[in-house]
Symmetry: C2
Subunit: 290 residues, 2 copies
């Protein structure tokens, strides 16, 4: 079994991006982060993204808004960043406080600066196989893991477990597109699927994104299948320093004897999302300066 | 086997729309058709749409542009119709002459008047399960046929044969959404699928949209499956008045003893598209006057 090292692959991408940014002579790419309120997870995510940007040579701006910020003030800030030629990409850190509509907010970011890939236009372009859009960082990271691990998808059966807007559906659309990685037969299953193990056992490549700890067990996968585990679930663990442990949707140890390739959790898909955000930011910069 | 009568179902929808339009006291819905050049199929399609609109009480405008019309002139016309409050919906009849980019042209139609559902924003909304958008007429018609024939989809396995932007992918997204008809396990297969009969035999509902005459044969379908045939293929037939006959992607006669429900070709999905265009036009009108 080939353990897919997401940390190492993300590091390769960061090195490639650093080298490319290093060759730029004129203006440099920059990403603007908007963080509303002080959700500890958001603070930590944004900090990690800032650090990675700095390593690569991508500039970053941090825009902090109070948790009770009005829709108007938030949108004014987004509009100003949309209009700012020095800002290549904009990321509004989720989750937002309840009084703000996330879809409406993500759609306020101009499509050509939507490095998070959440704008409706970019989702439509993904469906239309229009490469001019931005693919959301998690599904884009899944595609890179597949490509860089040598997992074949052409004519293979890819089973996606989960139908979310931000992972399951875009991953399915990417796997069925007329390009590689892609050109696969794709099945999307979910909570309403009646004969789940029968479906997942057909997978040459299983992408698990349902958010249930160790949901995928050994009997649900055929010998030789490749497995991408997108789940990051907290489970209580009295012996762990923080009282919990992070586990995937897949029971890694149980599947290890069967799988051809598998991502661990943590250290699989997780590290890829920040790398793909930086990839999207550099791409937004290049499109703006083409 | 229940033969799904697309003509009768389309007629029911047209009657419902006629009744609803009849209750409107103020302004009436209107659809603008833009036809570029004199392609005989386009002439015939637009005429059929005009006639159906007239029956329902939906106004229509026909904008004829020469086959060598410039992109600028075409876009000026679309812009004027986008801005015209008396126009509820706009349809640019495909195919366009080669010098005009269809995707760019369809995206010029304002999303809220895009009754054809081809604008990238409306495709993105479909993927996001945002009901405020317009679903393209063929996949919307498929959903109506399924709903009005009592075919269950909840937890069923729907296999979509074909991954086109205008039929296969939107139909798959509709069948996997968290609503009915939908909530199905969905497999999309296509020309690169290696073990096709093995996949299609799992279908509780098979949606065939690959454009190959009588491609689906009896051995590819399990007993009791429901079948929606989207294909409209011309095959030579010396005895037919025009020298050809229209046949579907499914061998109807061979499948008749096995299927639980099946659409004929012609008279299945075909008549639904015009009905759904009218449905979308009335909806655009209601959204504009809400």
């Amino acid at each position: 079994m080939q353990r897919i090292d997401g940390n190492a692959i993300a590091e390769s991408i960061i090195k490639e991006l650093t080298a490319e940014v290093g060759t730029l002579t004129g203006p440099k790419p920059a990403v603007a982060f908007i963080r509303v309120g002080d959700n500890p997870a958001s603070v930590s995510y944004v900090r990690k993204k800032e650090k990675t940007a700095a390593r690569i040579g991508i500039g970053s701006q941090l825009h902090l808004l109070p948790a009770d910020v009005s829709r108007e003030t938030l949108f004014e800030r987004i509009d100003a960043l949309n209009a700012d030629p020095e800002v290549s990409g904009i990321l509004v850190q989720a989750p937002l406080p309840k009084h703000l509509d996330e879809t409406e907010t993500f759609n306020r970011v101009a499509p050509h600066k939507d490095v998070d890939g959440f704008n409706t236009v970019n989702i439509g372009k993904l469906c239309q196989e229009d490469d001019s859009g931005f693919v959301a960082c998690t599904p884009a990271g899944i595609v890179e893991l597949i490509a860089r691990s040598g997992i074949e998808t052409e004519g293979k059966h890819v089973v996606v477990l989960g139908r979310s807007q931000i992972v399951g559906k875009p991953a399915a659309l990417l796997m069925m597109r007329k390009a590689l990685p892609g050109n696969a037969t794709v099945t999307v299953c979910h909570s309403r699927t009646t004969n789940l193990p029968e479906i997942t056992r057909q997978a040459d490549l299983l992408i698990a994104a349902i958010g249930r700890p160790h949901f995928v067990t050994a009997d649900m996968v055929k010998d030789g299948a490749a497995i991408i585990d997108v789940g990051i679930n907290r489970v209580e663990a009295a012996d762990a320093p923080r009282g919990y442990r992070l586990v995937g949707d897949v029971d890694f140890d149980a599947l290890a004897p069967k799988a051809s390739h598998m991502t661990p959790v943590p250290g699989g898909v997780g590290p890829m999302t920040v790398a793909m955000l930086m990839h999207n930011t550099l791409r937004a910069f290049k499109l703006a300066h083409a």
